[in-house]
């Protein structure tokens, strides 16, 4: 019985200077074909100037069950934001 080719995550750089952004995934037997499939699947309309493919199995993701302990501690640290500080309106460029 045949089985699916491995899954690859696809990242596209929309234009020079921007980061590659995740756009989706493709199946392919190896990296070279993954790149070709990614090109044909995700950049048919000049969506990008550069492509990355990464084996999906290589991605380590945080556990959704841990979202609380992972991300909530940032919630009460509002002093990390510039708006926390009251600077009079007549003081400019700050």
């Amino acid at each position: 019985m045949s089985k699916d080719w491995p899954l690859w995550e696809v990242f596209v750089r929309a234009k020079g200077g921007m980061s590659h952004r995740h756009v989706g995934s493709v199946h392919a037997p190896d990296a070279e074909i993954a790149l070709r499939h990614a090109r044909d699947t995700y950049t048919r309309r000049m969506e990008g100037v550069s492509l990355w493919v990464v084996p999906s199995a290589q991605i380590v993701a945080s556990d959704p069950a841990d979202d609380g302990p992972m991300f909530e501690p940032a919630e009460d640290k509002i002093y990390r934001h510039p708006t926390f500080y009251d600077i009079p309106d007549d003081v400019k460029h700050i």
Partner: protein, 326 residues
């Protein structure tokens, strides 16, 4: 935080493929971004590696003068803020080291260059933080000067550096505002508190102006760096802008900029200001800053005395890998 190009000798043009070089120059002149896998002249790679790694070192060493006050911050609020700021500086150092690594120099090599004294970092961090008000002055002036330099670097020609700058600039705004807020409160406080704020401004003003680097006529690399869009404004342009913006901020809280020659020049639409003591600047660049030795000693001790943490992490990873393999 930030650093400036401190190498005084002009660039040596090496033998590059003229066709590739011309194509590269044209891309940069058209404001295109250069990415790690693109062809680039060796001198561009070298200059950027030096500039980005110096910038990273500045963020890391910049934690020391402020870290000095975390345990002595005057309230829990100030302590939490200062901790968050120092934590951000560590983050900025990491973004920048990562950007520099894309040019082919390893993290280890860069850290080694810092600890051996071979690499430079911003002169500003070789001045001591003597009183609490210095924390206010650093946020307001030092981070203010850094922002002025970093905002145009968001459009620098090397993609990974430009993207790191976007992140840094977004985070930097709180740094300056918390510093100004400290100064504002001290200046509106008791006469003794106001005196402390003024004392901090007196000591940090000139070193802050030096952060923009030597004058344009003493900055032989500026022309090349601007042509390559590694730099987008000259040192003197940025310094002028800083003075023009900062002087009214000092006035607004009743503090006096320690420069008797500082006055508005209607004709040029900017301030005239006194001469920077460049002897002092070059002495600090040479490593003769008031606390230069202390800074490097603290860095090396932190690196060495915490080596066991890095070793334990590796041992743990190896043990887990071995278990999984079994």
């Amino acid at each position: 935080m930030y650093t400036t190009e401190m190498q005084k000798t002009a660039q040596v043009v090496s033998a590059e493929d003229p066709e590739k070089l011309a194509a590269f120059e044209a891309r940069v002149a058209a404001d295109e971004f250069i990415e790690p896998k693109d062809w680039m002249p060796e001198a561009y790679r070298r200059t950027l590696t030096r500039q980005i790694s110096q910038h990273a070192h500045s963020e890391i060493v910049g934690m020391l003068p402020e870290g000095n006050w975390i345990t002595r911050a005057p309230s829990l609020r100030r302590k939490a803020i200062l901790l968050a700021k120092v934590q951000d500086e560590a983050g900025h150092g990491l973004y920048l080291y990562s950007a520099a690594e894309t040019l082919g120099t390893s993290r280890e090599e860069m850290i080694e260059a810092l600890h051996s004294g071979k690499a430079k970092y911003s002169t500003i961090f070789n001045y001591p933080t003597l009183i609490w008000a210095d924390i206010g002055a650093i946020g307001w002036l030092v981070d203010g000067a850094a922002i002025m330099n970093q905002v145009p670097l968001q459009r620098t020609s090397y993609g990974p550096y430009a993207r790191a700058m976007v992140r840094v600039c977004k985070e930097e705004s709180f740094h300056q505002r918390q510093g100004y807020e400290i100064m504002m409160h001290l200046a509106a406080g008791t006469p003794e508190q106001k005196r402390m704020a003024q004392d901090a401004l007196d000591r940090w003003w000139w070193p802050s102006l030096m952060m923009f680097g030597p004058t344009d006529d003493n900055s032989p690399n500026t022309a090349q760096s601007m042509r390559w869009r590694i730099k987008r404004d000259t040192n003197d342009e940025l310094r002028q802008k800083f003075v023009d913006i900062t002087k009214p901020q000092a006035d607004a809280i009743g503090l006096t900029v320690p420069d008797p020659d500082l006055r508005w020049n209607e004709e040029k639409g900017g301030h005239d200001f006194g001469a920077v003591d460049w002897e002092e600047f070059y002495a600090v660049v040479r490593g003769e800053g008031p606390v230069a030795r202390e800074r490097m000693k603290a860095r090396r001790e932190a690196w060495e005395s915490n080596a066991w943490v890095r070793e334990a992490a590796v041992a743990h990873a190896e043990k887990r890998a071995a278990r999984e393999a079994a």
